[in-house]
Symmetry: C2
Subunit: 343 residues, 2 copies
């Protein structure tokens, strides 16, 4: 099933068939019709390998996720597809599973297949070594990636400032959550979050504390309470917080799992959410936020939007635009029951 078969059936030359099918050159309408008919009858589909070989590009981009597709990578990937698909670019997804070896392997696979560009995505914004031949990073300096194709990091950040990284603005998200709690009339607000080694935890806390300071307040019940990103920690820390600072009237939680644990703990001390204690989470992980009792107000990182931006940037890069720097994209607040104003 090649274009020669189509040409033969239509009674024209190979070149004419190609032009007729691609709308290039000038071909009589009658011929176009005959060629199209022949192609349809034969179920002809152009061989993308031959086409790519000739054109020097493949209309394919690779997306490497450093950890398995999870709740962070998936929306990023969908956004990227939204941006790339309409221009009929295909996205070649690879799961690095957080393993450098696998990642190198996939990089190789992608480059061999001559993808036009690569998106690297992960689940943390802590800077990571750039993809590419190990050790090439340092030598590259500000010069951008040492790879033969443009690369965009999305929901991941390269330690090489010459690479373009797109990350959610965690500090702004934390500020958003805190401002919302203040607006709903709370003033004695605690903060329970994940491990301090995560940039996300530190930044969210910092943003929240800035807003609090602007209102002349500080975290109620002591500095950010760092622990695991789990429900278990949410319960435990909330329990301790309510014991040491019983008049706490709101808790900003570093993610939705912690918030859900917090909701259970609040309820189990005989208090009500949101009437006694308001809660705000982070991530807008639907299945968590919706199953929480009551449904959880939370911060959405707009990852799909971030993925879309990554796709657009990559397209620009493929067309020759320079790609570098770290860009922070805004989070937004999704209000639900858990932070309703009193009365």
């Amino acid at each position: 099933m090649t274009i020669s078969d189509v040409a033969r059936l239509a009674g024209v030359s190979q070149g004419t068939a190609s032009k007729a099918l691609n709308g290039r050159g000038s071909i009589s309408p009658e011929t176009v019709r005959r060629v199209r008919d022949a192609a349809d009858k034969l179920g002809y589909q152009a061989n993308a390998l031959a086409r790519g070989l000739l054109a020097g590009r493949t209309w394919t981009v690779g997306l490497i996720t450093t950890d398995s597709f999870g709740r962070f990578s998936i929306p990023v990937m969908q956004g990227a597809e939204d941006a790339l698909g309409p221009g009929s670019m295909a996205v070649f997804l690879c799961d690095g599973r957080g393993d450098r070896i696998r990642e190198q392997h996939y990089l190789r696979i992608l480059l061999e297949r001559r993808v036009d560009g690569i998106i690297v995505t992960g689940r943390r914004q802590d800077p990571r070594d750039p993809i590419g031949p190990a050790g090439a990073a340092g030598s590259a300096g500000l010069a951008g990636s040492s790879l033969p194709v443009p690369v965009v990091y999305a929901m991941a950040q390269s330690t090489n400032p010459g690479d373009l990284s797109l990350v959610p603005d965690d500090a702004q998200g934390g500020a958003l959550a805190m401002a919302h709690l203040l607006n709903s009339g709370r003033t004695r607000i605690g903060h329970v979050t994940g491990p301090e080694r995560f940039a996300a935890a530190r930044l969210r806390a910092r943003g929240a504390q800035r807003i609090l300071a602007e209102a002349g307040l500080a975290l109620h019940g002591g500095g950010p309470h760092h622990g695991e990103w789990t429900e278990e920690w949410g319960r435990q820390a909330t329990d301790a917080l309510l014991r040491s600072a019983p008049d706490t009237d709101a808790i900003f939680c570093g993610n939705d799992q912690i918030a859900r644990g917090a909701a259970d703990a609040v309820r189990e001390t005989g208090r009500a959410v949101p009437d006694d204690v308001a809660l705000v989470g982070f991530d807008n992980w639907e299945v968590m936020a919706a199953a929480c009792r009551p449904p959880l107000t939370t911060v959405d990182m707009n990852l799909r939007e971030l993925g879309r931006a990554a796709g657009e940037r990559l397209l620009a890069g493929i067309n020759g635009a320079p790609l570098s720097g770290v860009e922070k994209l805004p989070c937004s607040l999704v209000p639900r029951e858990s932070s309703r104003s009193r009365r």
Copy 2:
């Protein structure tokens, strides 16, 4: 960066360079070394497009997931990669998002790129139309897929019996759960599950009821209680069940979310899990099962194993083996706290 550049640098002909790099023909060790060195120095990587064009195959398989990569598709995909990767096949992942149009689109993309085979994966085992040109299904009859490459359905089932479908054995899984509860000394066992329109719900219930019948028992508190696959429904149905049949000593839940809701409901009636009421879930969705209080005993569908099997079957298909029929792969039980024997 082509093989000619390598050949020139090594001072040999193109053909010799090719043989040296691929270990074909007979080439003097000395020449091999020179060519390898040249390739290394230049960072040469073969162009997979040119190679594929010539070979008529691409060492690439496509994986189309009918709904976004979620907790069902991901393990299947990983298993498939485990089976295919070592033979250095690349897996081209596509997210159909449950949309037939997108699916067609990706199928096209994959066939244009001349993948060697396709795996279709989903999250339900209810039979679905085969992929491929709409309407081609019926005419194909038992003849297998009308596509030019082999196809395997994994965690998805084609309505065309000529296609090969791999699904978890839900009935066996349900039986496993029920047998486990009986073994732990329970006899008054209820069943709360998802919508009846899901084959999974019906099959799990059927398997459970068969085991119960063999023990001379029947579902306690009435037939399978069908509802949503949500925590909310788990809470609601469990509450109703414990009201109408207060002596219930175990509940088999159709999935882990329902089980988690059930755990909350049991606790809120003043009963203890597992001392008063034992619980078993289904899916082994780690984040749910582990966050449940107490940790949830559940049935694992071994999806990774299923994915691996799909990859192996596809390889066989690519090598010419015929592929058809429906195969059910066994589930296994993951015991945790929620069903510990009393005393």
